[in-house]
């Protein structure tokens, strides 16, 4: 295992011994990871390694699990996703999962449903429309009529509407054209620069190690490797398995 020697900001998320089973199949066999404030942490691994399960379990979408999930110092392992989201963590799911028959604006308004006042919803919505000008153009269109890239932006904006401190992102570049992928990654960097902490699952390993501060590599439901992005990029294991070197 590689060790990072940098002075570290405090952890916003600490996962300890997380286990998830689907019936008799154990998908996660004891995951330990932590995400430090203001960083982008990436979770790498082959298909079926358990990356999505990890994200879903952290955000509460998988109810039955063992282990501890400390978010801002509080164990949220037994909480429902809606409670967790209200505490400041959310997930932009794999495959975007937008609501095809709802308009772009309705996505934003729903995304902000956790805010207590109308004015703060309006504020965040305005902020999102500044950041994603294409959404303003499409404001009253049904989300189902948007292009893949636009849908991904909508999905991110929808997540951002809850003003999270920690955003989990599951395969944001999946199925998008290369120039759109670049756009999305610029956006991710922009969000980090605004102070958002991001836990990123991405099949595009080289791109994600480029933006990430730290990374974990998963295989068969376990963390097998971790380190700073540079350390991982230079590790022979990662190069051999993912970077094709």
């Amino acid at each position: 295992m590689l060790l990072s020697l940098n002075p570290l900001p405090e952890a916003i998320l600490d996962v300890r011994g997380l286990k998830v089973a689907y019936g008799p199949v154990e998908a996660l066999k004891g995951i330990d990871l932590s995400v430090r404030k203001g960083q982008i942490v990436t979770l790498l691994g082959a298909n079926g390694a358990g990356k999505s399960s990890t994200l879903n379990a952290i955000v509460g979408l998988i109810g039955k699990k063992a282990g501890n999930i400390l978010f801002k110092g509080r164990d949220v392992a037994s909480l429902s996703p809606e409670r967790i989201v209200r505490m400041g963590m959310t997930l932009t799911p794999e495959g975007r999962r937008i609501f095809p028959s709802l308009s772009v604006d309705e996505h934003l308004l729903l995304g902000g449903a956790a805010h207590s006042s109308r004015s703060s919803i309006r504020e965040v919505r305005e902020d999102m429309l500044e950041r994603f000008p294409i959404l303003r153009e499409r404001l009253h269109q049904k989300a189902g009529s948007l292009s893949g890239g636009e849908q991904q932006m909508l999905a991110i904006a929808r997540s951002m509407m809850s003003s999270p401190e920690l955003l989990l992102m599951d395969e944001p570049s999946l199925g998008l054209a290369p120039q759109v992928v670049d756009l999305i990654f610029d956006l991710i960097i922009g969000l980090r620069d605004r102070g958002l902490t991001i836990l990123l699952v991405e099949q595009n390993v080289s791109l994600s190690l480029e933006v990430a501060d730290y990374g974990y590599v998963m295989a068969n439901g376990r963390i097998v490797l971790s380190g700073t992005a540079d350390e991982l990029r230079n590790s022979t294991e990662v190069q051999g398995a993912y970077l094709g070197a």
């Binding site: 809606e82 989201v85 959310t90 609501f99 028959s101 308004l109 956790a114 929808r158």
Partner: protein
């Protein structure tokens, strides 16, 4: 022509009631994949609510909303007691649970209220007729058409203008993601049941006003029709349920009106054949929509 117009009004009135009921089924189905066969018992509960409010001396105009409130409360209670613990279970489990709830409530009505129908005194003013351009419109019939329109408009506004309404539409497409917006799953499901209770309560009151009595088993037939209507429209599609309700109402009334006397006994058979024809043409129903039922 007059006869045709008159039958059109009849169809509108019957179809409207079916539409309200089918909509109630569809609202719950779209959210949690449950076909609630205890929906009919909500109508019955509204009927008893009306009777007991009147017995307690509540004026008729206030007894009507009280009756609807009874149906809403029972719907929410059903969800809390019976359906919450099986939420996310397989369709078969949900269906059997709803059959059980329906059977239990019916037996409770029969044994703790009365097995015999109980009369409701509907004010005579409601038995009159309005004549518009040669068309005779029963007051109850007219009210039922107006109320149906009001309910459909009101529900549409709710679904498009409020957070919970939007959340329900979103939940019908992808429930898990709605939770990721910090919206409480229990609130969405409870709202769906409350709305289905409201729709069943209103339909129940209209139904009771027409028949003048409440009996413990009266919910079965209308809910069966509503189920057929919802299937025609495409289960889980709200506009489909409304369309299915009106289509079934129109089919029944016009078959009754224009089938030759010797074939009249087969009216329901013809209506069902039409339903089968619709389903052969569109197996998912007329306005089917992909539904992700996942909690």
């Amino acid at each position: 022509m007059d006869m045709f117009l008159q039958q059109l009004v009849n169809a509108l009135s019957l179809g409207g009631t079916y539409a309200l009921l089918a909509l109630g089924l569809a609202v719950v189905f779209s959210i949690m994949g449950l076909i609630n066969f205890a929906h009919g018992e909500l109508m019955t509960a509204a009927g008893y609510g009306l009777i007991f409010s009147l017995l307690l001396g509540v004026p008729f105009a206030l007894a009507l909303p009280a009756a609807v409130v009874v149906a809403i409360l029972l719907a929410v209670l059903m969800e809390r007691v019976a359906f919450r613990s099986v939420r996310g279970a397989s369709g078969t489990t949900l269906l059997l649970t709803s059959f059980a709830v329906s059977a239990i409530i019916r037996v409770l009505f029969q044994n703790f209220i009365s097995a015999r129908p109980m009369a409701v005194r509907i004010p005579m003013a409601l038995s009159g007729t309005i004549e518009i351009a040669g068309l005779h419109l029963g007051i109850i019939q007219a009210i039922s058409i107006l109320v149906t329109i009001a309910m459909l408009v009101g529900l549409n506004l709710f679904l498009h203008r409020t957070v919970l309404g939007r959340a329900m539409r979103a939940a019908a497409e992808d429930f898990a993601i709605v939770r990721l917006m910090g919206i409480r799953a229990n609130a969405v499901v409870a709202t769906a049941f409350a709305i289905s209770g409201l729709l069943a309560g209103v339909a129940g009151v209209l139904w009771v006003a027409q028949r003048g009595s409440v009996d413990p088993l009266m919910g079965f037939l209308p809910v069966l029709k509503a189920f057929i209507a919802a299937i025609i429209g495409g289960l889980g599609s709200l506009s489909g349920a409304v369309a299915g309700g009106f289509l079934l109402g129109f089919t029944e009334v016009f078959l009754q009106a224009f089938l030759p006397e010797s074939l009249l006994s087969y009216r329901d058979a013809f209506a069902i054949i039409l339903v089968i024809a619709v389903l052969l043409y569109a197996p998912q129903g007329l306005l089917a929509r992909r539904t992700v039922v996942k909690l």
